[in-house]
């Protein structure tokens, strides 16, 4: 089993004619994702180099292909609009890869999405989501992932991360120990974003095939601490946690007001302390996430 996306998910790419959109559409196709088309306003009726149909609007793409997921590479000034267009067209899983969307645009998008409870936004500023062996929507290197059916340990985990490249790191470390991944989700590093740690934890907790969960956070914000308390109250599966930024210098904070909003909860050490109090297996080094997961699952490596 997996969360959010699987082999039946039909995916379009918004911004398919841009260089990143075109490159990663091809990579997703090669991985086996059911890519069914793309959207670039003004280029409707054309086909991309892979023969996928291009549409002017997401609604046209959905009507013609039955797409239920989208991967957005639209440039930052237009990305918020692209997310709302996808929701309005009935897309269920919106994966926004775009980096650099203005924060106040995302504040409005979040308010708009309240009218679409059936829609899940992943990102923005994220690597995307992958259910290994079935569906890759995003920019992660597919080959590092290990589908549950091929996991030598017989066990698979879910991975949730705010950082793109650290997600790959965790996947790689688990895979090289024979631990598969049911699904890996990069939730993105922006302050205002779609799906959060708790929502992912809830989905992984309900998925019977997911034996454990790796949760990777960063300094800043209170999401990790909230998620840790959620784990303590609700999650019976082993959870491994890592927080990046223990050595990050303090400062670079946003004047007085920012410090008041965040309280004292947002340093790496404060978050790790909360992790430990909530029974999360803490990986002290970014190189030991896989090892910690193996240990927590009782796998000999």
């Amino acid at each position: 089993m997996s969360i959010l996306v699987n082999k039946n998910t039909k995916v379009i790419c918004q911004g398919i004619t841009g260089s990143a959109g075109a490159f990663h559409t091809r990579q997703c196709l090669e991985y086996g994702t059911k890519m069914v088309g793309g959207v670039t306003p003004g280029k409707g009726g054309l086909k991309d180099p892979n023969g996928l149909p291009i549409f002017n609007t997401v609604q046209q793409a959905v009507d013609a292909t039955g797409a239920d997921a989208t991967m957005i590479f639209v440039p930052p000034p237009f990305a918020a609009d692209a997310i709302m267009e996808a929701a309005d067209a009935g897309i269920k899983v919106i994966v926004a890869i775009t980096e650099g969307i203005p924060v106040l645009d995302m504040v409005k998008v979040k308010a708009f999405l309240k009218g679409f409870p059936q829609t899940t936004l992943i990102g923005p500023n994220c690597p995307g989501i992958i259910t290994p062996g079935e569906c890759k929507i995003g920019i992660m290197p597919g080959y590092i992932h290990l589908p549950p059916a091929k996991a030598k340990s017989g066990k698979s985990v879910g991975i949730i991360s705010r950082s793109g490249t650290l997600t790959y790191e965790a996947v790689w470390q688990c895979a090289s120990r024979g631990i598969g991944q049911t699904t890996a989700v990069g939730i993105g590093g922006d302050p205002v974003k779609g799906i959060n740690f708790i929502e992912c934890l809830d989905l992984f907790n309900k998925d019977p095939e997911t034996a454990g969960i790796v949760m990777i956070g960063e300094i800043g914000g209170s999401d990790e601490a909230d998620a840790a308390r959620y784990v303590k109250a609700n999650v019976k599966k082993p959870v491994v946690g890592f927080i990046a930024g223990r050595t990050a210098p303090p400062g670079k904070r946003m004047g007085h007001a920012g410090a008041i909003i965040s309280g004292g909860d947002d340093t790496a050490d404060a978050k790790l302390k909360t992790f430990k109090e909530c029974g999360i297996h803490v990986s002290e080094s970014p190189a030991t996430m896989g090892e910690a997961m193996a240990k927590a699952l009782g796998i000999n490596t």
Partner: protein
Amino acid sequence: MKIHEYQARQILADQGVPVPPAEVVRTPNEAVAAFEKFNQPMCVVKAQVYAGGRGKAGFVKLVKSADEARKAAEFMLSNRMVSNQTGPEGVPVSVLIVAPGVDIAKEYYLGITLDRGRGTATLIASAEGGVEIEEVAKKSPEKVLKVPLHPLIGLQGFQARELAYKLGFTDKLASEAAKLITNLGKAFIKTDASLAEINPLVVTKDGKLLAIDAKFNFDDNAIFRHPDIAAMRDETQEKPLDVRAHKANLNYIALDGNIGCLVNGAGLAMATMDIIKLHGAEPANFLDVGGSVTPEGAIEAFSIILSDPKVKGILVNIFGGIAKCDLIAEALVKAGRSIGFKVPVVVRLEGTNVDKAREILAAAHKDLPTLQSATDLTDAAKKVTAAVAA
């Protein structure tokens, strides 16, 4: 992005927030002229710098004569300001403001910033202004009021009125304060600010409401739609290497250690610093080359790292997703050939196009003997810390 106080005052004034009169001056003669123009018993001369800690550093001065105004201006314009926020090299001062003294009866704090938890901007206010507001928040959180801005329609009139009364304003001042609060909310949204702060907001002894000091920071992601704000950027206030990194779209912060880092992704960049420290050494910088790095950007990244004389070794840690490993490898080789790697460079590559990248590095090994490959993160950290210690 940051701006100067005088620019922040202008943004507030444009939005109808009452700010006291002030003259922006760039020479001691202009400071004298400003003092004489105001014709008041006392004025304040304030250096315009991005960094805080001006008062303690002697860059905010009360002056009681034209001669004192000249001396204060001469001092500020001919010295760099060094405070606990600037580092020992300090920052240059080229602009001052001269403003008449204000008889303050009471001080308040007003600020707006993003509340990540709520997913929207939030107004923070306190009747205990002028002091360290963090201290007030810690000791008596009930004295710090928070009002979220609606994500779509912003701060509403009733919220501003309610807040004005809660802060203790009465009668005519209450309606003036409500209007000021509403206008601060408008200025925040209109400019895509990440921080809009009035500290202190004061009531004068003759009953006037005035924004004495203002601070605005802006969302870097939204600068593209505010060319007027982008034009306010004062590069003299930033470190030269930071300016270079900004121009090359690199996310760079200089640190105190001796191992330079070149990494893709902010999270992995921080984790790379963490692992260097776990192995007993210190990182010389944080550097995230981002996802869409160009060959020129990568070369500039190496050249920025190498221009720091403290750097005794470099750790390159790339897990390619959107960034392609072969591109980084090519840039690495190109940079090595053009700049020359006099220090050990340990490279750990994984991800998109990694095989092609390994071929490129292997082929260049003869030209770049200080280049070493690492198999994983721990191996990379061990190799680079050992190379630096040797």
